[in-house]
């Protein structure tokens, strides 16, 4: 199988590869030599399963995320859809020209997607602008990298932390686009029953941070 390394993270290597007539992302988690092999296998399996389940759940409730093609527990690898697109990080990068209208549109898409995800009790765990992708094909906002995701039971705290992590990304990487984050937060609060109590919590973290 010919694989091209696209990214090496702390937990996994990301490759592009051809897979059953399509182009796919293969995400291979590392073996951790410092852990006992049995424990390592158990923890890695659980992570892979959690990630795959969250991705599939997203698609089943109408949130755009990579489709899962194959979970290879033996080789610690998930094969999923390769999405052609630009990250929100790229779109907001210095020098990129984004109009006020485009910014509001982007904020609305992000706010609605995150509200839907949280309403389904899914926590992403690593929300950054690099993990939000606009598809070239139809401008849909896709959420990627569910490597730290989990499904929670009624945790306002976890959801607020998700938003707080995203706000930190905006403050550190896109300080000029903080208004986009605030518009996003407003949309989020309106699109989701408990949204406003979560954004209230998030503001508290923001204030503390």
């Amino acid at each position: 199988m010919s694989k091209n390394l696209v990214k090496q993270g702390a937990e996994a290597r990301i490759y592009t590869t051809s897979f059953l007539t399509r182009t796919a992302i293969a995400k291979e988690r590392f073996k951790k030599a410092y852990r006992h092999p049995t424990l390592d296998k158990k923890l890695t399996d659980r992570r892979l399963v959690q990630e795959a389940r969250c991705l599939v759940k997203c698609r089943s409730i109408g949130i755009d995320a990579p489709a899962v093609y194959f979970v290879d527990l033996e080789n610690r690898t998930i094969y999923m859809e390769y999405i052609e697109g630009k990250t929100v990080n790229d779109l907001l990068a210095d020098g990129s020209k984004i109009t006020a209208e485009e910014s509001d549109e982007l904020a609305r898409k992000i706010g609605e997607a995150l509200a839907k995800m949280h309403a389904a009790e899914m926590i992403h765990g690593d929300l950054t602008t690099s993990n939000l992708l606009i598809r070239d094909a139809n401008n849909s906002l896709a959420i990627i990298d569910f490597g730290l995701s989990f499904i929670t039971t009624c945790s306002i705290e976890d959801k607020a932390v998700d938003l707080y992590v995203l706000e930190r990304t905006f403050l550190s990487t896109h300080p000029h686009a903080h208004h986009l984050f605030l518009t996003m937060l407003k949309v989020y609060g309106e699109s989701y029953d408990s949204g406003n109590s979560i954004t209230g919590k998030e503001k508290k973290y923001g204030w503390l941070g």
Partner: protein, 176 residues
Amino acid sequence: MYSSSLEPFPSHGLVHISLYRNVKNAKELRKRLLSRDLELSYAFIDAKVILDKFQVLVASNIAIYNETHHKLRTHNVHSEIVYSLSPSTNIRESLKNHGLSDDTTDVVIVKVGESAETIQTHLTKIIKGEERDVEEMTGCVDLARVKKYYKIADSISDREELLKAVVGSIAIKNLS
């Protein structure tokens, strides 16, 4: 017939997929399958539950994975393909919903291994029906049945979106 090797199992040989329409002897084939007639070492799938050949390839890949790692839940790799297609972990229900029934007329047939010519000749002998281009299977599907079996929201109507939801639920079925 469409023949291809699967990237995760490069040394495993080819997977062959054919489509037969207007099949007249589904009842006889089903009876022979139930009596484990070894001449019928194929996966027979009701084309009504298939959106695209990619769906068949995804299920075949999982069946071969299960065989390779001694995790087969059914008798052999071919019944495992039919079982893998279903989101249900109930074997009888999976074979009933995705396999042949007595009145099936459009059939997708999968074979793991052997050569395309051998299979072609053999299938012509055992199937009373017309072989068609594999890509034609996109026109045989019963979308209502697909949505029901895979529990897909009615709001999803785009074919590509449907296919993504379907392959996802196939991919995570056996994860405990």
